[in-house]
Subunit: 133 residues, 2 copies
Amino acid sequence: MQQAESRLRKTITLFLYYSLPMDFSQFSRTPPPPYYAVIFTSRLSSNNDDGYKEMADKMVRLASLQSGFLGCESVRGQDGFGITVSYWASKEAIAHWKDNVEHLAAQAMGKRSWYEQYELRIAKVECAHGKSA
Amino acid sequence: MQQAESRLRKTITLFLYYSLPMDFSQFSRTPPPPYYAVIFTSRLSSNNDDGYKEMADKMVRLASLQSGFLGCESVRGQDGFGITVSYWASKEAIAHWKDNVEHLAAQAMGKRSWYEQYELRIAKVECAHGKSA
């Protein structure tokens, strides 16, 4: 019985994993503050064709399945400079995602070869307002 | 004497204003945290050609002359979705810039017509690390 439940849970997770929209050039629907933002600015190396795109997509899908994930907004210009902001319920959720095994491997590849330069900032969102479409 | 000093100050300000680089698709050299980030995500309206670009450039130049301004990073995709993150020494510096007369006019135009949708988040950067080029 427990095994069946575990299989079902796994199937649902995989279904979610592969059915999530891949377009993050849209607005995250975040709750009222406080919550956390991870601001990741990066410039891709010229030799970033060894699986970067696939891994980046996979990491966003995987992040979005983590507990405490609130959303992700991302843009990259044609010059290779990009900004990705992900939103999280707590610092603990960010720390947990940072230590995810698959994510650790991606971080190592990013540092070693995909990114020529990057800066990662963790910030506590204190207030927010906007205009709806 | 005071008048001369005032004129000199104005000349230097204008010189800085027009000689600043316009490319913000580069990394800001921010100090060690804590400091503040204003995360502005936006989607341009389809009818944004009435002076948007000029005003946006002018606002970044003007912001960079404000007390407490630490830097600005900005990317806009071809679909009109963009992320601009500006960095500030304090919440007071952000509040002061928000109330700048020229900026108030630009904010009104942005809300009324340039942006189809936007979200502005004010966040306190608590930690940061990166990889240098």
